[in-house]
Amino acid sequence: MSTSHVLLGLLSAGPQHGYELKRAHDERLPRAKPLAYGQVYATLGRLERDGLVEQSGQDQEGGPERTSYALTDAGRDKLAEWLAAVEPPAQYVASDLFAKVIVSLLASGASAATDYLIAQRAAHTTRLRELTAVKTSGDSSAGDVVAADYAIAHLDADLTWLQTTLLRVADLHREVNA
Amino acid sequence: MRPSTLARLAVAGGRTDVLRMAFTAVSSALAAVVLLSAAAVVAVPELGDPDEGSNAWNQQYGSQLITDPGLRPGVVATLLLLAVPVLFLAGQSIRFGSPARDRRLAAMRLAGATPGQAVLVAAGETAAAALLGSVLGTGAFLVLRLLLDVRSEFGLLLLPTDVLPSPLAFALVLLLVPLLAGLIGAFLLRRVIITPLGVVRRTRSKPPRLWPGVLIIIGVFAPFVIRPLGRLVVRAGNRIGADLSVAAGFALVLLAVVGVIVGTGWLSYTAGRLLHRFGRRPATLLAGRQLMADPWNGSRTLSALLAALVVGAGVLGYRAYMITQFAATDEANRLGGGNAGFGGTTDFYLNSAALAGLAVVAGLIVAAAGIMVALGEGIVSRRRTYAALVAAGVPRRVLGESIAWQTLAPVVPAILAALTVGLSLLRGTGTEVTAGGGGSCAGTEAQCADPNSPYWQMDPVVTMQVPVPFGDLLALGGAAFVLMTLVVGVGLFFLRRSTDLDELRTV
């Protein structure tokens, strides 16, 4: 995912300045990693350089000077192009969990790997329960529930994979020791 | 599918299906015995043209039904007719689905069998059991032949036990019984759909029409209204009007017979609605709703039961009529000083009534067995629901109660209606008998020319009212009710097997 595309998307609602963009980002994408201000301004600068956004005004109400940005036509095209492009489905596996399980099986032996996996599963299950509690608590917003669903689906996939891996390792172990 | 494959699959059920197999086998054995008896009657040697009178009679038998070559075809036809419902019963047991059988057939479909092949396997199972039954039946026939080979004091045989049916007849029975049972079974499976995921029974959900109900109600009450009406018209001096009203009453009763037999769906539906409306217990709620949802379940066999009852009530009415007739004649003879009574001939009439009664009882039993099959099928197909209800804490007693309501609620009014209508059918022709009358003249022709001359001796006229045979009707209706109670008992047995918790574990 690229921050620049998300910012372009947020600007499609109308001109906004950096601070507003950061807040909109964190609000619309709960449970995503929050954006840093610096990253917002750096990205806007790059977008302006490429002609995708332009400065649309300044306001200075009782604070530091703030510049609003608006989408250019090129920016609008770029956004449409990005939205229409299909994401390659999991082309590379890039996950600390995956790397750690593989390395642990290679480096520390089946028993230590199993201990690690048990602990990891417990952590995943706890997180899963917390996220489910968000869904069942009566006062969660629709956005919260959708975000929880997304996280739950991924944790669930991780858990299934963990379990399968363990059973495979156990089978391998049996075969080797048979 | 090769025949050998079919044979293998047909006996795959093995021990799990003992009940259905036994049911098929016993019915087929019975059919075989009846058919072989018919063959034995056929085997009685013909001594000549029946028109020659008693010269052509086979005098070695006790019963005129067998000695008289003119009567023998009738006996054979009756036996053949009797074999038909019994064979139907054998075929009907195919619908006695057991959970295990249903799963087996569904699994065969899942494994790639076509619907036709699945039906073929089911029919094959029935045919296999029926083959076993016809072999047993043949054995039973041969044993019975020896056991019943008794002579009366005059050296007359009770039954044609001195002749053996032809080998061809034996072969036909051994082959035809399984074949017919299988064919009937396949035919009866047309409302059962064997899908790869399970066996589904199609039910007619259309609520039944009202008209048979109207016919029943009018027919039951018609005789009570029309006869007094007719009498009124007679008193007014209009003979034709009276006949007309009696004829109309008779026609209405006939229509009521049709109503009773066609209207079982309506009866079930109405009984269900009343149970649902007025019942206060969970069992009546369950039974009422189920009757309303599927009033046609077992309706055809219930029709058969009711038809048997109509005939039975008619036979009882006829018997009461004959007895009164004999009594009136005897009375008239006694008063007239004559001594000629009916003597032995009364026995012939009463015996034939008894024989007809026996056929009615046989019909009742076969019909009740049919209802049992339908009930068992219904319970087995609803086993998942029952098992879930038991798991949820519904006592089996409540479920049993609902099955009893569901079976008996439509049957009791149906029995009453059938008996009333059957009796009306006969009593429509008359409720009183007259005997005597007429006279003889002891004088010369001239002396007798005047009917008022003293040479004329007039026989007294005796008129008697034919009583309603309440006792006999009660016995007949009671017997039907007891049979249905037995059916409920068997249903409860099915219920126990169908509420097994394993039903919750399998789809």
Partner: protein
């Protein structure tokens, strides 16, 4: 801890096949416990034993400190329809009864009047969002609607424990989640304990606590490895 329902040393076999081989379990008042494990691990059998539907071969099941294994079938039947609610994957509604009649059935069995039972039934159907289907036959409802009716029936007697065996197994993901969320809400509100049998971690996450089984014994790792492995 003050456990409402306990199982100690539970053993149960089907013929020669053991399904439970010594299980200890405690369900607290108002607690939602998930029982998980691969298929054939004995989790449904455990639920049936705890609910008094099946008798255990050895061990004891105590509800409010009474050994229900000593009770007669009819006493356990009464327990199931008053103190317990049961919920299965599907096929538990009587097809010929309307939704309201299905839900009212346990109340009628308990001796309630017809009107009164119908009133509560409609109320509970409304709670699960199917109030307008009160006079429908189950056959005319979707799977989710049927399951909502089944939940209403399981809870209409306000049981102390709800036993749910794969209650969302026959539903699509969203409907399943909605049904589960409703169950959890009501259970929290009424202090009902729930025993939730499932093989899905996602469903188990609705519970406060998870008990994993493997081959008829507890599996503390929850990874399907059993104790000995």
């Amino acid at each position: 801890m003050n456990a409402l329902l306990t199982g100690t040393g539970l053993h149960r076999s089907y013929g020669p096949t053991p399904a439970l081989r010594g299980i200890d379990i405690e369900i607290g008042e108002g607690e939602i416990v998930a029982v998980t494990g691969p298929s054939g691990c004995g989790k449904s059998t455990l639920l049936h034993c705890l609910a008094g539907i099946l008798k255990v071969d050895a061990g004891e099941v105590r509800f409010r400190d009474q050994d229900i294994g000593l009770w007669s079938e009819s006493a356990r039947s009464r327990l199931r329809r008053t103190e317990f609610g049961v919920l299965f994957q599907f096929g538990q509604l009587v097809p010929e009864l309307t939704a309201a009649e299905n839900v009212a059935l346990p109340l009628l069995l308990a001796g309630s009047g017809r009107r009164e039972a119908r009133k509560s039934a409609t109320l509970w159907l409304g709670r699960f969002g199917v109030g307008d289907l009160a006079d429908q036959l189950p056959g005319r409802m979707s799977g989710g609607e049927q399951q909502r009716c089944a939940v209403a029936r399981a809870l209409v007697t306000e049981p102390k424990v709800l036993f749910a065996d794969e209650p969302t197994g026959a539903l699509d993901v969203l409907t399943g989640e909605q049904v589960l969320t409703e169950i959890v809400h009501v259970a929290r509100e009424q202090g009902t304990s729930v025993v939730l049998v499932t093989h899905e971690p996602k469903i188990a996450a609705y519970a406060d606590r998870e008990i994993a089984l493997r081959d008829g014994v507890l599996d503390p790792t929850g990874l399907g490895l059993g104790i000995g492995s």
